[in-house]
Symmetry: C2
Subunit: 142 residues, 2 copies
């Protein structure tokens, strides 16, 4: 590997890159979700690939419904060292199962939603037939 003096990104650059606001990046660090981010000479944070990767993974956990509290527990495990890997696998596997269940539920809801929309569309079609004043073409936007 090449030796590079990775200068890292400023907090705002990191925010843009990860899609997480600067406020939230500081908040995550404050509550221990993110280990201490390296600082430049003046005390400003510098986000390297390591931090950015961590943020991306945290974002995955959040977006898949893990609570901040549970994320903290998971991060604590990682800090305890390699001997907690079995527990981490356990936690992630359990979370994976919840995610699969969530996907199943959402897919079911999607089908129900399609059904409902279909019913409404059917009502529109009938209304059209019995109502000469009704619009024939699809509504474009709100």
């Amino acid at each position: 590997m090449a030796i590079v003096t990775d200068p890292g990104l400023s907090i705002e650059e990191a925010a843009v890159r990860t899609g997480v606001s600067a406020h939230t990046l500081r908040y995550y660090e404050r509550i221990g979700l993110l280990a201490e981010v390296p600082r430049g000479p003046g005390g400003h944070r510098r986000y390297t690939d390591a931090e950015l990767g961590a943020v991306v993974f945290l974002t995955l956990l959040r977006q898949t419904g893990m609570s901040i509290r549970d994320m903290q527990r998971f991060v604590d495990l990682t800090r305890e060292g390699d001997h907690t890997i079995p527990q981490r696998v356990e936690v992630l596997s359990e979370h994976r199962e919840q995610l699969v269940a969530q996907l199943a539920l959402l897919n079911k809801h999607l089908r129900a939603l399609d059904h409902k929309i279909g019913i409404y569309r059917g009502m529109l079609g009938e209304a059209e037939a019995s109502d000469p004043g009704a619009p024939t073409k699809e509504k474009k936007d709100a």
Copy 2:
């Protein structure tokens, strides 16, 4: 259709049936998500199929990420009469698109999560080879 004097369900029975707490059922009614639920002679709510169906649909909307505020707007449309059906189709279709996007994101996250778990499992396998004390069989439960 047979004439039945549908006595309906008590609020607690409705709660069990729909998976929504009695507190929340009253809350939904209070904020106008649920039209006035019919009452028995003593003023207690009686939930009929109409109300239960409405609750189920509201639950679908909530679980697929619609805000209470947006649900209120949708419900207001239904109260305005059949001429709002095009708008309702529009709202539901837009919500459907968000749901599809959400599903795509969650599926992506599921794959990433599987990848991460795989990496951890790989680390476990290696540790096992160099650590005679490590368990050989899969961990079953927490």
